[in-house]
């Protein structure tokens, strides 16, 4: 089960490829890859035949490297925090009327 490539079917990440990293119980797994690392129901995944060579609980960097080796497409993931742009920086160089 670990290292198997799957496709997310539900939610905003629907259609994105991910890798199973850890199995929590019969119905839940932890996924990573082109999606945010998260717990996911197996009913929301479509498993494929491809399997990557990974350890249990591999970090995101390890997963992404393994995906690179397998020549899978790497897309930008959703991260937790974005850099905030202050109003001063926004208006930098622009003159107010």
């Amino acid at each position: 089960m670990i290292g198997r490539i799957a496709v997310k079917l539900v939610g905003r990440e629907a259609g994105k490829e991910c890798v199973i990293v850890e199995q929590v119980n019969d119905s839940f797994v932890i996924i990573d890859g082109n999606v945010k690392r998260r717990k996911c129901n197996l009913q929301h995944l479509e498993l494929t035949e491809k399997v990557l060579d990974l350890k249990k609980g591999a970090s995101t960097e390890e997963v992404r490297e393994a995906m690179k080796k397998a020549k899978m497409k790497l897309t930008s993931r959703r991260t937790k925090t974005k850099e905030k742009v202050t109003s001063k920086e926004k208006n930098n160089g622009k003159s107010k009327k």
């Binding site: 496709v7 079917l9 539900v10 939610g11 905003r12 629907a14 259609g15 479509e46 494929t48």
Partner: protein, 88 residues
Amino acid sequence: MPRPNKRSRTLRRVFFRTPGGTNKILYKKRKPRSPHCANCGKPLHGTIRAITSVLRNVSKSKKHPKRKFGGNLCFNCTKRRLIQESRR
């Protein structure tokens, strides 16, 4: 009598009371049909049913769910389509 073009029911009527106390009628465009799934025809969640002049001022995220085929297919049909794509 209202004007001949206002006598048909193509425009909907909105009654309102003016500050002076008289009742008046506003003639407004009717709402279009709500967005439906292109595959099965179910009404879609997370979409807005309004005329285009109103939709112009609404943010994009309020007009459709941020999902693949969001605003076009229902969740069930996207699921089926994504399964088909992955098995090819």
